[in-house]
């Protein structure tokens, strides 16, 4: 995800966008849901953070004696980033969204905001990220909310064990964005049963209500590509030449913020094309998940069964194959069959229902520690799901008028709300 973003947007973080004169008192400038999702927040609209933090990366041995194939030689354990203060402070765990690692840009911004507000912070990769699949997933097959959350919970305990001698903690808190937000709810429920951390407060940011429906909605974005997702290569190459021609016609110095800003203002990509690019980014992420899981389990899904890949082998064909598989393919051919084998009698319907906040709504309703923060135009949610969140969390649901999916996460107001939620 990071790399595709690098091509299309990377430097946009310095974007000099003029303030959006909306009359709703909310200053986040980008009205379109797709555009906001891709562009994120202009750097001038993010708060400034201290240059130096006490921070280091933890490399955790969550599952002892885990065998790692040679192609993943660089994976030495689960990577978490830890930022800490010398004095006693509350600790917050941050869970990344789909496909993101412990140092994703969004997590780093959140980490700085919480650190500045006096929190110790530990960031965790998403269970759908290759590092997590390789080093921290018991089944090595991500996708089930209950199992993934149990894996996360185990990882948090390992992280806490690694640092508890160094810091003083006044309370434990939990926050996650996107898929990580939904997982945070399940982790908190598990913690209420096992009582290790006794989380004081839990915030979900742009969470899907149902993981299955949300994934389907992202896949729908791909359908806006001419010829559908099976022609994503053609689409990608066409977008690339558009991008490169636009550069060569203009008088640009480099692929930098000015250039990327004009892509937005000149509307180089249409609404449908922007949708296609979001869908494609999701697919590229998903490919990493499919490939790592397949190699770790030797399932013979995209890599021939029993083939041992060395670090110097080409895996380009697997890249192309994996990116052409949809979430539905993964679900129907790989994920669900695995769980059906584990739990004979499990129906497809019951499995899909278990991948939703609704499956634990009784718990969420009776606990005052939860809050949710999302956007009116987050395309992951249907109108009905948005109303469901409103009704479930009442006053603890903060819904911004725009921002798409996570586009406004790094915006000053949003970060302030986030931190404040945990200070109350």
């Amino acid at each position: 995800m990071r790399y595709l973003k690098l091509l299309f947007i990377a430097c946009l973080t310095l974007l000099p966008v003029t303030g959006h004169a909306a009359d709703d008192g909310y200053g986040y400038p980008i009205p379109g849901a797709h555009e906001a999702t891709i562009l994120g927040t202009p750097a001038a609209m993010m708060p400034t953070f201290p240059a130096k933090m006490r921070t280091r990366q933890l490399v955790l041995d969550v599952i002892p004696d885990r065998e790692k194939p040679p192609v993943f030689f660089y994976d030495e354990g689960l990577r978490c980033t830890f930022a800490y203060h010398k004095q006693k402070a509350p600790l917050i765990f941050l869970i990344a969204g789909t496909g993101a690692g412990d140092r994703s840009m969004k997590l780093m911004t959140m980490m700085k905001a919480f650190y500045q507000a006096g929190f110790h912070v530990i960031t965790l990769p998403s269970p759908s990220h290759a590092n997590f699949i390789i080093s921290a997933s018991q089944s090595r097959i991500p996708g089930d909310l209950n199992e993934d959350s149990a894996d996360l919970y185990r990882a948090m305990q390992a992280a806490w064990k690694a640092v508890e001698g160094e810091i003083e903690v006044s309370s434990f808190n939990l926050c996650g964005y996107s898929l990580g937000g939904t997982q945070a709810a399940f982790v908190a429920k598990l913690d209420d049963e096992r009582q290790v951390f006794n989380f004081r407060k839990v915030l979900m940011i742009n969470p899907p209500v149902s993981v299955y429906t949300s994934a389907m909605r992202i896949e729908e974005l791909m359908q806006q590509i001419p010829g559908g997702s099976k022609k994503q290569g053609v689409f990608f190459n066409r977008m690339l030449s558009k991008f490169s021609e636009f550069y060569r016609y203009g008088n640009f110095v480099a692929i930098n913020d000015d250039f990327l800003y004009s892509i937005y203002t000149e509307k180089l990509f249409s609404h449908e094309e922007t949708a296609g690019l979001i869908g494609l980014t999701f697919r590229i992420n998903l490919a990493g998940q499919i490939f790592s899981s397949d190699v770790m389990t030797n399932s013979g899904y995209v890599v021939p069964k029993n083939r041992i890949l060395s670090p110097r082998d080409s895996v380009f064909d697997y890249f192309l194959v994996s990116t052409h598989l949809s979430f539905i393919d993964y679900f129907e051919e790989y994920l669900f069959p695995y769980f059906q084998k584990q739990q004979p009698g499990l129906t497809r319907k019951a499995f899909i229902e278990s991948m939703s906040l609704r499956s634990i709504e009784g718990y969420l309703k009776q606990s005052a520690k939860f809050g949710v923060m999302t956007n009116e135009n987050d395309f992951l949610l249907t109108r009905e799901e948005l109303d469901y969140l409103r009704q479930l969390f009442g006053g603890r649901a903060k819904i911004y008028p725009r921002g798409g999916h996570l586009g406004n996460l790094e915006y000053t107001d949003n970060l302030a709300y986030m931190v404040n939620f945990f200070n109350l």
């Binding site: 790399y3 030689f73 290569g233 490919a287 021939p304 670090p311 110097r312 192309l320 052409h324």
Partner: protein, 262 residues
């Protein structure tokens, strides 16, 4: 040419380390169980390939990529973080500006090679402004005067005059490159050392070897300090292809000739 010698020996050391590592890479796990074809294979998709770059030496490149990871991990990055912990941020910024200002010489020569008049004047203006008002390059007032930095190098010059990038190449220590850009790197370094010898700033100090070496070493550390890229940090199993694609495409786009306005 003491600095050049220092530089060559660094490169030699790097190559030696890399060769020893490549030896280890040859040993691979053998699986005696028969392979079974995968459920999905490339033959079932009728689509264009994407993010593809000519890379006939992929095995070699992947070995070097891996070598760079270890080189970073055990040698380069510890030096960089040592530097970062010793020098205050203010000093680090001055050091970066200083070397970036020296880099304007490379930008200027290549703007001239590409016969880009306006750009050459801008770059010369930057160099003169920052060398004087910017106190020998420690500060960058030129940018606030609206003189934008134009990064140029001989690889881009070759590309501008129509030379193909040639196959992708990962260089020890330097990282992603291509056959054309490697040639460019050699030319730029030669020009740099040629000029350096001509100027020979420490000739009369009696300690020119030590000082030349220190300037080079700090320059190398500053270069890595300014680069946030870390090998395998994304954890993404296809990171090699993403890096290859982004590198190649960025170079192609930036070195291409502008098209006439429609």
């Amino acid at each position: 040419m003491t600095v050049a010698r220092y530089h060559t020996s660094t490169l030699f050391l790097a190559l030696l380390l890399w060769l020893s590592l490549a030896g280890c890479a040859a040993t691979r796990t053998v699986n005696n169980q028969a392979e079974v074809p995968a459920r999905h294979s490339i033959s079932e998709f009728r689509d264009q390939n994407f993010a593809e770059v000519s890379d006939p030496w992929e095995g070699f490149n992947r070995d070097v990529y891996r070598f760079n990871y270890y080189f970073d991990k055990y040698i380069f990055l510890p030096l960089v973080s040592g530097y970062e912990s010793v020098a205050p941020v203010f000093v680090q910024e001055r050091v970066s500006n200083f070397y970036n200002n020296i880099g304007e010489v490379r930008n200027l020569t290549n703007s001239l090679f590409q016969l880009k008049g306006k750009e050459s004047v801008t770059t010369l203006g930057r160099f003169v402004t920052n060398s004087t008002l910017g106190l020998g390059g420690l500060f960058d007032p030129a940018t606030s005067f609206g003189l934008k930095r134009h990064s140029q190098d001989f690889g881009k010059t070759l590309g501008y005059w129509g030379a193909d990038s040639g196959p992708y190449l990962v260089l020890p220590v330097f990282g992603p490159s291509s056959v054309r850009d490697t040639g460019g790197l050699i030319v730029d370094s030669s020009i740099y050392y040629g000029l350096y010898t001509l100027v020979d700033p420490f000739a009369h100090t009696g300690q020119s070897f030590a000082l030349d070496s220190a300037v080079t070493a700090l320059g190398v550390i500053d270069t890595r300090h300014q680069q946030s890229f870390r090998y395998y940090e994304s954890g993404y199993p296809f990171e090699y292809y993403m890096v290859r694609f982004i590198y190649h495409e960025k170079r192609e786009i930036e070195s291409g000739r502008p098209l006439p306005k429609l």
